[in-house]
């Protein structure tokens, strides 16, 4: 279907739905690299007007990647909940924005709508929303998940403690873990990116994390971020795996480049469930995503990177994840060039995930060849914390010495918690108070003394 729009006597034509979405996308380097971005700002603004006039129903009739060619499209179409969609089925994309901003769209209405929305609808409306719109609507959404604690409650923000080490040295990892716990981090997950993907090495890390969590009775969960098939094999060999990790993307071909399919993800999901290690819930999956991953695998089908990203959330929500993390600035400047593009993308991803019912967190991050710095990350972290994101990363001094990029530090998480009065997951907060890492009281204050379990751990490492 072709789309045309006339503004002030000039007519703009868009060849199909993909072209319309791509040209309506706020500027970013990846869409230029793909050759699908608007030719200039005026064409982009006209595309946004044309998109605003589009009935939401069109997204049920026309797919950006053909149904026959792509299992992610089939998942989106086959799982669509028409009853849930009925609340907004009469609206255009432009009026959908108006509805989202209205008081009618409260937490209950947004929760009920989520299964009726397709990723393309969420992506489309996000393209005509300002940053404040993305924040305002995200803040009304709530996606709560559970394993050994409760993540995503109002007024709370969790952190992934990321104690990476370039050679997986257990003592080095333990040192970073203690640092993170002492700063009140680690309630979303204690998650290691392993240097080695070998199964024995992965199992050794899984065991190490399990021992730490059990010995110190920390109400949190662990994850070794290795390929889903490696986690399944580790489970088969009896490893105490809490969360099953996988990077995912928004097209079948892009997922194939990660070595996964919906069937493989289901195997991982079922293997994780089979261990029944969650004490208060059974959300066992941890997914990571990021704009540009489909294009980087030449698997984007001419679809803009932000729409591809939203489609990844349809994959995620199929498997009831505990955590979904958009690693927004990791991929590099050929996809998101500078702080402005990274900030906008992080807020778009969080918005799209939340309205689709996905427990979104964000790796607020950048590489050294991106035009971005700590100030940009402070802005994005602050905006996301206001928008009510479920979790951020926590790493010593913002410096990941294994992956060579910069993300939010343990201190950064305390900043966000402090300025907005955000607290950790309730079960983890109780533990922090019990151990004396946090002091009781309305204000966030760290304890003065070294807690007993930490003294014990220090003695062991000395």
């Amino acid at each position: 279907m072709e789309f045309t729009h006339s503004v002030r006597g000039k007519s703009y034509r868009f060849g199909d739905l993909r072209a319309l979405l791509a040209k309506a996308s706020p500027a970013r380097s990846g869409d230029y690299l793909a050759g699908i971005a608007a030719a200039d700002d005026t064409e982009r603004a006209a595309a946004q007007m044309a998109l605003a006039d589009l009935p939401l129903k069109v997204f049920l009739q026309e797919q950006v990647v053909p149904y026959e060619d792509d299992e992610v499209t089939r998942l989106i179409v086959d799982d669509h909940d028409a009853k849930a969609f009925a609340a907004v089925s009469h609206l255009t994309v432009g009026d959908f924005r108006n509805w989202l901003l209205s008081d009618e769209a409260d937490e209950a209405a947004l929760t009920a709508l989520a299964p009726g929305l397709t990723p393309e609808m969420a992506a489309a409306v996000s393209k005509i929303m300002r940053v404040q719109d993305l924040v305002l609507v995200s803040r009304k959404c709530r996606v709560v998940t559970k394993f050994r604690n409760t993540i995503g409650l109002a007024g709370r923000m969790s952190t992934r403690l990321q104690p990476n080490h370039p050679t997986d040295d257990p003592v080095g990892i333990a040192a970073s873990m203690i640092d993170g716990l002492m700063f009140g981090n680690g309630d979303a997950v204690i998650g290691i990116n392993p240097a080695s993907d070998s199964i024995p090495a992965v199992i050794a890390l899984v065991n190490m994390l399990d021992e730490a969590i059990s010995r110190y009775e920390i109400p949190t969960q662990s994850c070794v971020l290795t390929h889903v098939t490696t986690s399944v094999e580790a489970i088969n060999r009896g490893a105490p795996v809490d969360l099953v990790f996988q990077s995912i993307a928004g097209t079948e071909a892009a997922n194939k480049s990660f070595g996964v399919s919906l069937d493989i993800l289901r195997e991982g999901y079922e293997a994780g469930l089979s261990l029944q290690r969650g004490t208060i819930g059974d959300n066992v999956m941890y997914f990571e995503t990021g704009q540009g991953s489909a294009l980087s695998a030449y698997a984007h089908h001419g679809v803009d990177q932000q729409t591809c990203e939203a489609r990844a959330y349809a994959v995620a929500r199929k498997f009831k994840p505990l955590l979904v993390n958009t690693v927004v600035g990791f991929i590099g400047p050929e996809y998101l060039y500078n702080g402005k593009q990274i900030i906008r993308a992080g807020l778009e991803d969080h918005f799209c995930g939340k309205v689709l019912g996905v427990p979104m967190g964000c790796d607020v991050c950048y590489t050294n060849h991106a035009e971005a710095d700590q100030d940009d990350m402070d802005v994005l972290l602050t905006m996301l914390a206001v928008a009510g994101l479920n979790f951020v990363m926590g790493i010593p001094g913002s410096d990941d010495i294994m992956l060579n990029y910069q993300t939010t530090s343990f201190h950064d998480a305390l900043y966000a918690r402090k300025i907005l009065g955000l607290r950790p997951a309730p079960e983890f907060e109780d533990w922090l108070l019990r151990t004396g890492i946090f002091q009781p009281g309305p204000q966030l204050r760290l304890g003065d003394a070294l807690p007993k379990p930490i003294q014990h751990a220090l003695a062991q490492l000395a």
């Binding site: 690299l33 040192a175 990077s247 990660f258 050929e334 590489t367 010593p396 913002s398 010495i401 060579n404």
Partner: protein, 268 residues
Amino acid sequence: MKDSPVIPSAWRQLRQHTQARIGLGRAGTSLPTSAHLDFQFDHARARDAVHRALRADALAEGIKSLGLDPIAVHSAAPDRAAYLQRPDLGRRLDGASRQALEPFASPGEGRPDVALVIVDGLSAFAVEQNAVPFLDLLLPRLDSAGLTLARTTIAMQGRVALGDEIGELLGASLVVVLIGERPGLSSPDSLGVYMTFEPRIGRTDADRNCISNIRPQGLSYDVAASKLFYLIQESRRRRISGVSLKDETGNDGAVITAAASPERLDHK
């Protein structure tokens, strides 16, 4: 003297176990000034490594001192901003460079064995610091094996795959690309070496072998040169490079790897 407002971390002793920035203390609950400024300094060094232009003339003098006679070429990316946003342009020569290399092409009989291509990549600093001392140890090894060299090139605004076009133009049976790697916060000076058998436009990362982190505080020049020399000989003997070559050298996997998508950052 009044006490410092910084609250030190009681677990500072753990710093001996990791290069990670742990035990930094706190000002309130925020980063103390010294830790904050240390980070800013390291980031500035990494940024400067990305953005400073390669001093190609000085590098050429260094290369000449090794007995080579390099030619300067330029990718199709006109400047750093284009280079960073358009990796495709960094993988191809500009028109003038193609013309400049044509007289040195040697197709068919008498093909050179190895083309050395020295590329700024994401850290000109890495190339300036490490390329000459590394080649100083590599060249005698190539010479001892009787390998012939194509004309050496120094390429500006280049990606790894630029070596494919250059190697193909020069008719070399194997190309070795020395390139500045994406700077880390504490390693802005890392040199990477990529080897590709039968280079031609369209080769992918799966066709290459990589030796990474060559710098004074990382992998030593001597170890890197001997590893590369081993790879070159294996590649010539088996007439392949990349993933399938790596399978036979598994015990070196941590250092010699099939090029794991040097320009494609997968998710963590």
